[in-house]
Amino acid sequence: MSEKRLRIEGLSKSFTVGKKVIDALDNINLEIERGEFVTIVGKSGCGKSTLLKIISGLLPYESGKVAYDGHEIREPGPDRGMVFQEHRLLPWLKIRDNIGFNLFSLPKREREELVGSHMKKVGIDGFADAYPNQLSGGMAQRAAIARGLAGNPEILLLDEPFGALDALTRIQMQKEVLRIWQSEGTTMILVTHDIDEAIFLGQRIIVMSERPGKVLDIINAKNLAYKNRADADFARVKKKVYKYFFEEEMPDLEYTL
C-alpha cells in the first residue's frame, strides 16, 4: 500500500584524519522497503556505523544520494530512530526521562503515555524511576530500544545493539526485536558482525566488504519458512555468508546435525 522507501544511490564517504584520507564507504546502492527487516553484516571497521549514521542524519555526506520517501536526508528527523551499540542512556536521567528524552515537544500526558507503553513493549515497566546504572546490560539495551521506538519512527536503525550482551540475553533480545517488528511494522535496519544474528533477523542480508565498505551481496532470506537456527535452510544461508569473509569452507553443518 505504501510506497515509502529508503533509497541510497552511489553513496561514498571518506574521512580526513590529519592529512590522510580514509575511505569508509564506496558506492553504496540500496533500496529498503517500508516495513522490511534488513540486516547488514561486515567486519569491524568496514563502515557499518558510518552508513547508519548517514541514514540517521547525524553524519553529512558529500557524494551520492540518500533519500527517504523522496526527500533527501541531510539531518535527523522523527521518521528515523536509532539505537547505538552502547546504550547511551543519559546517566543523570531516570529511565522514564531517558525514554522520553526526545519527546520534549509533546504535551506531558502524551509523552508519559508513549513512555509507558514503550516500556511495556520492551518489558521494563517497573524500572521507570531507576537510573541507568541500576540496570543490567540487557535492561539498559531494552531501555535504549524503547527510546529509539518512543517517537514512533518509521525506520529504526540498530547499530550492533546486542554486541555488549551475553549470548543468552542476546538470543532473547533478538526474539523480542522480531516480535516488536512484527507487531509495529517499523522498518528495521540492523547492523551486526554476527552472521547468525543477521540471518535470524533479516529478511534480506546485506553483506559488506572490508573497508572501504561496498555491498558484496544482498541475500534474500524472506522465504526461510521460519527462522530456525537448526534448520537446513538456515545453515545454507549461513554457509553462503560465511564464504564472503573466510577463504576456507565452513564445516558442513547440514550433515553433522
Binding site: L58, G77, M82, R88, L90, Y131, N133
Partner: protein, 254 residues
C-alpha cells in the same frame, strides 16, 4: 559499621597529636610561650566564647566568605560555561584569564589595599580573585568533556541549543563543577584568613595576629584550631550538597 571504622581511623592522627601535645606541655619539655598547654588553649576558647568575641569574629569572617564566594562561584560557573560552549568566548577570554591567573594572590594585595583599603570590599575582592579561577577552570573542563555520544542522542531528536545545554551539557559537567566549587570554597577561606592576618581590624584572622601582638600564644592556637575546624565543616557541607546533586553518579544503588 564500616563508616564507624573509617571515622575512628580518621580521628587517630588528631588524637595522637593532642596526646603528644598534652605530654610535652604537661611535662614541661616545651615552654608555654612556645606551645601553650591544652588547658590554657581550652581556657582561651572558653573565655572567647563566653565574651562573645569568638562568635563575633567568626560572624564577620564567615559573612565575608559567603559574600565573596557567592560572587566568585557564580562568576566562575557563568564564565566557565560560556567559554566551554562557545569557541568565540574561549578565544576572546582565555588568553587574558590565563595571564591573570598566573599572578599570585600576594602580588595583588598591595594594589587591593591601595584601591579598596583594608575593609570589607578588599576582603571580598581577594576572595573573588582567589576562588574564581578554580571554579571557572573546572566548569570549562566539565562542559567540554561532555561525551559526544550523548550529544548525538540529543541531535537525533533535534533538540535545541538551550535545552541541550540544560539536559546534557550541564548535568554532565556538574560533578566537575562541584570539584571546582569545593576547591574554590577552601581557597576562599584560606585567602580570607590570610588577608585578615595581614591587613584587617576584625575577623578570626585578625584575632590571631592581635593575639601575637599581645603575646598570647594560646589565642593563636585557639584561632588556628577554629579555622581548621571551620574549613572542614565548610567542605563537608558542600560535599553533602554535591552528593545530593549527583546521586545518579554515585553507583546509585541504595
Amino acid at each position: 559499621m564500616k563508616s564507624f571504622r573509617r571515622v575512628a581511623l580518621g580521628l587517630t592522627p588528631p588524637v595522637a597529636i593532642v596526646l603528644l601535645w598534652w605530654y610535652v606541655t604537661y611535662t614541661g619539655k616545651v615552654p608555654p610561650m612556645i606551645l601553650p598547654s591544652l588547658p590554657a588553649v581550652g581556657n582561651a576558647f572558653k573565655n572567647n566564647v563566653l565574651s562573645g568575641q569568638l562568635l563575633a569574629d567568626l560572624g564577620i569572617s564567615l559573612t565575608r566568605v559567603v559574600k565573596g564566594y557567592l560572587v566568585a562561584a557564580s562568576l566562575g560557573v557563568v564564565v566557565g560555561t560560556l567559554i566551554g560552549v562557545s569557541r568565540r568566548f574561549d578565544e576572546l577570554l582565555s588568553p587574558t584569564l590565563h595571564a591573570i591567573r598566573s599572578i599570585p594572590m600576594m602580588a595583588w594585595l598591595p594594589l587591593i589595599i591601595l584601591w579598596c583599603g583594608i575593609g570589607e570590599e578588599s576582603k571580598i575582592v581577594i576572595i573573588v580573585i582567589s576562588a574564581f579561577f578554580p571554579v571557572m577552570i573546572n566548569t570549562i573542563g566539565g562542559i567540554t568533556d561532555t561525551p559526544q555520544q550523548y550529544l548525538e542522542v540529543a541531535r537525533l531528536g533535534k533538540m535545541g541549543a538551550f535545552r541541550t545545554f540544560w539536559k546534557v551539557y550541564l548535568p554532565s559537567a556538574v560533578p566537575q563543577i562541584f570539584v571546582g566549587l569545593r576547591l574554590g570554597l577552601s581557597i576562599s577561606w584560606i585567602a580570607l584568613v590570610a588577608s585578615e592576618l595581614l591587613a584587617a581590624n576584625s575577623g578570626i584572622g585578625f584575632r590571631i595576629s592581635d593575639s601575637r601582638i599581645k603575646i598570647r600564644p594560646e589565642g593563636i592556637f585557639m584561632g588556628i584550631i577554629v579555622i581548621g575546624i571551620i574549613g572542614v565543616i565548610l567542605d563537608k557541607g558542600l560535599t553533602t550538597i554535591a552528593k545530593r546533586a549527583t546521586r545518579w553518579n554515585s553507583g546509585g544503588k541504595e
